[in-house]
Structures are given as C-alpha cells and as structure tokens.
Symmetry: C2
Amino acid sequence: MFTIAQAARRAGCPASTIRYYERVRLLPSARRGTNDYRYYEVADIERLAFVNRARQLGFSIDAVADLLRLADHPHSPCDGVDTLIATQLHSVEKRIRQLQTLAARLRQLQSACDGEHPIRECGILAALSDTRWNEA
Amino acid sequence: MFTIAQAARRAGCPASTIRYYERVRLLPSARRGTNDYRYYEVADIERLAFVNRARQLGFSIDAVADLLRLADHPHSPCDGVDTLIATQLHSVEKRIRQLQTLAARLRQLQSACDGEHPIRECGILAALSDTRWNEA
DNA sequence: TCTTGACTTTGAAGTTACTTCAAGGTTGAT
DNA sequence: ATCAACCTTGAAGTAACTTCAAAGTCAAGA
C-alpha cells in the first residue's frame, strides 16, 4: 500500500494529477484509510502508469479512457486499439506539417532583417504589416 | 467606419475575438457610436490584421503585445523584434522535434499489431503496459 | 512528550485563448 | 410593422491540469 505521493513517484506524475484523474473519472476512486488518505496498490499504480504513457503519446483524456476500456476486454478484437493509434498518429503528423510551414515562414521573416537598423526599416515588421501577407 | 462584423471580415477573424482582444487589452478600446456599437477605421483594422498574422505564426498574446510595442517605436533598434522571432522559431522547432519522436513511437506501436487477433494478444497494449516502456 | 517538517484532505481559482450562450437592444429592408 | 441580422454585456464552457488556502495527520528527533 502506497500513499498518493509514493504512487505518484512510482508512476512518474504529480500527486495532484492523480487526484485530477480520479475527479474526472479516468481512474476509479482510490481506497481510503481511516485518516481519509488515499492508498494505492501495485495494480493501481500500473494502471496509472499506463495512463501516463498514453498521455505522453499525446492521447486525450477521453482517448485514454477508450484505451483503458479496450484493455479491460481481453477477448474482443483489437481493431479499436489500432484505430485509436492510427488516428493519433495522423493528428500528430498533421500538426508536424503545420508547424513546419510555420517554421518556414518564421525563417523567411528572419531573413528580412539583419538586426543592424532601426525598427522603421525592419523587414520583419514590414512583412507582418503587409496586407499581401495572407496571400503567401 | 466599420462595424465589428465588417472589421472582423476584413481582418479575417471572428468578431468575438476582436472583443476578446479588447478585453485583455491587446487592442485599445474601440470608439463607440451612440448606439454603443464599436466602430473601426482602416488603421484599426490594419492593426488587428497584424495581430492575427502574428497569432497565426504561433506568437502568444503577450508576445504579440511585445511586437506591437516594438512596432510603435520606429526609431529604436530592431534587435527586440529579431529576438522575438528567433525565440518563437526555436520553440516551434523544439515542438516539431518532440512531435517527431512521438510519431516514431506511435509507428513503432503500430507495427506491434496486425489487427487480426484479440486484445489479449495485442502487442500495442502489451507495450503500453510494459513497465520497461519508460526506458525507451 | 513535544515539536517540526513533510505529508494529506477539500474546494476553488488560475492557466491559455478563445468560443458560446443568454437576454436584450438596434438597424435596415420590405 | 415586422423580420432578419446585427449589436451589447457578463458569465460560463473548453483541455488538462496546477496552485492555493485552510486544516488535519504522521513520523522522527530532542
């Protein structure tokens, strides 16, 4: 049996996050001691660690809840899991593409200024003020 | 003079966003008519468009406020502008690297399952449950 | 035993950048 | 006159937490 801080250390997240997951019902209510402290067993901590790993992969709380539900039904087919992973991968890839476009624009802006002149002559602000910007 | 919806259309953002920017003081309070409607001139709309372009580049509201302040001082050197752009570019690049790591992990997970078996045998959930995960 | 510091509890509010909603007033065209 | 489409405000909702305040608990050392 572990206190919330011990569980947090083992699972690799703050105690406040564990309380939060309980509050939003991502995790079941923890067993309580007579002092009203939450106590966790190894199995609880493993589930929590599973949640943290999925969150680190960028899954939303709702998606993690789906994953947990799927993991709790060992006999059903795993298409659902595959779909969740694929969906997440697609959204990550899309976000990467957006950010790459962004980075390219920022680099372009950067090349419009050598830092050695007053703002009045700054190509960056000129570009940002240019109404033709949105065409680019 | 334009109403808020007209200004919004010209600047390319919802009217609610303009009100929001005013509320958080990113933009000055708009001039009001006797009907209490907000009215905008071309210069106001240009400033709003500038804000929208910077936001589209991923600058936070605070950073946009900095950009506006800098743009309002045409005689000071433009190092500050350069720094803001560089900082933003670095954070975008960092985020891209994080997401690429994420995508690689998701692809790795994907390869652990061919979708043709029950969850009990699913390599994805096995990997997510594996305590050695965090080493990877 | 007392104290001290580190833990625990709760509910509420703060974070970011908006969007949505409710309830009501204004405008312009028919 | 009436109708749609606009405008106003303040408040609440969104995601996923984090931080805070106020108060109770516990373990160890003097």
